[in-house]
Amino acid sequence: MRLAVVDPGSGNLASVHRAVERAAEMAGAAVQVTVTRDPADVAAADRVVLPGQGAFAACRHGLDALPGMEAALNEHIGPRARPLLGICVGMQLFAERGLEHGVTPGLAWLPGEVAPMDPRGPDGKPLPLPQMGWNRLDISQDHALFAGLAPDAHAYFVHSYAWSGGRPEDLLATTDYGGPVTAVVGRANIAGTQFHVEKSGLTGLTILANFLTWSP
């Protein structure tokens, strides 16, 4: 199986690359991983991982700077109907728009937008931002990606913006940070995690391994 990890610009994808390789060992899958900025690699891939770090607008502009990449991603998830996993800002890019220093259009694969968080504790006091650390996954809908997870599985989050205004049927899991925060979205052959699967220990590797064997 060919798997393309799309590099939207940061270049810091060593962790994702290594985690996919470890997950492939766990899943017993033969996976050839390519970290790429070339849409031809996406066109040739059986599965795509779309990571992203930093700001929504920077990642979006990073993708736009790769001629043919958005079209190749749309072709991959649409006509070719192949699986795609978004991670962190890569997941946020599924939305229609990001609201960070103005409005930036997303890939508009799912209804929703990415808005600033302002989490509050029970006493009304502001909680630290970004949300940085391990938080529990509260699974809203059963999904192939969640197979084999412990009931109290925790994942590693780092974000100050969160998905909002989506459809309930696209919401797969939330986490609690001053109220429910979107943790996993998905529809048909695409899924995205707000948390870093590549840094979420066994929980993250299990989700990645499930992605490698997922037949949506």
Partner: protein, 256 residues
């Protein structure tokens, strides 16, 4: 609920783990890759490497350690020590670090924090603050392993670093480091009152109660070295102490 993070810190010099008491009397204690992986298996929520006495010559040694660690550690890894430029941050991230910690260089050139945050995102930029109490109610920044006074007010500095784009603050009490008397709680409280960033408390852990006190003072991460390295406590004991006191912790998972 977001859980408290327990973070063992490994001091690394020339590719080997050492440990310090008040930043002197270093002694060799092994391979950082093995130790980091072992802490990951023990349930550490993150691991921090501090490159002690980082020099231009041994920078590649540290990058190699980071790269080999990242190949087998699937939890966040923060690396600090000798980070002086945007390029230094880039090299650490490319080697597999998740966060780079900037200390003395931020004091010398605060704009470095902004540039690094703009280049890579705030999420991977930690500013390390080494503070010492100078008079009641006032703490100042010290650099160069605590040897050099700067006259800068630590709480105001924390606010400024947040404004420049730091994603996290690592606050070390130079008074408490190596003493086993617990974190400087007043310092943590004052920074917490003024700054919304995640706050990692460092310096002084000697008992399990100290972890709980750090959480109560507003830290979201609790860093310790010798109590873990010397085998006084295991990571799970620190988490159990927090859990008993009512703080959320990440449950143990089978080693990945």
């Amino acid at each position: 609920m977001l859980t408290l993070r327990i973070i063992p810190c490994l001091d690394v010099k020339e590719g080997r783990v050492v440990k310090g008491v008040n930043f002197v009397d270093l002694r060799d204690a092994g391979d950082p890759v093995e130790q980091a992986t072992a802490y990951g298996a023990q349930g550490a929520d993150e691991v921090t490497f501090l490159d002690i006495g980082a020099t231009h010559e041994n920078r590649d040694t540290m990058l190699d350690v980071v790269s080999r660690t990242a190949a087998s550690l699937f939890i966040p890894l923060t690396v600090g020590g000798g980070v002086r430029s945007v390029d230094d941050v880039r090299r650490l991230l490319l080697a597999g670090a998740d966060k780079a910690s900037i200390n003395s260089a931020a004091v010398a050139e605060p704009e470095l924090v902004r540039r690094a945050a703009e280049a890579f995102g705030s999420q991977c930029i930690v500013v390390a603050i080494d503070a010492k109490q100078v008079t009641p109610g006032r703490w100042e920044i010290f650099t160069h392993g605590g040897r050099k006074a700067t006259g800068i007010d630590a709480v105001g500095w924390a606010e400024r670093m947040a404004e420049l784009g730091a994603g996290e603050l690592l606050v070390t009490s130079m008074d408490r480091d190596g003493t086993k008397r617990g974190f400087d709680l007043e310092l943590l409280r004052r920074i917490r009152q003024r700054v919304r960033l995640p706050l990692v408390a460092s310096g002084g852990v000697g008992s399990l109660e100290h972890f709980v006190e750090g959480a109560e003072a507003g830290a979201t991460g609790l860093l310790a070295a010798s109590v873990f390295h010397d085998g006084v406590y295991r990571i799970a004991q620190a988490k159990a102490a927090l859990a008993v006191a009512g703080w959320p912790v990440r449950p143990e998972e089978k080693a990945a």
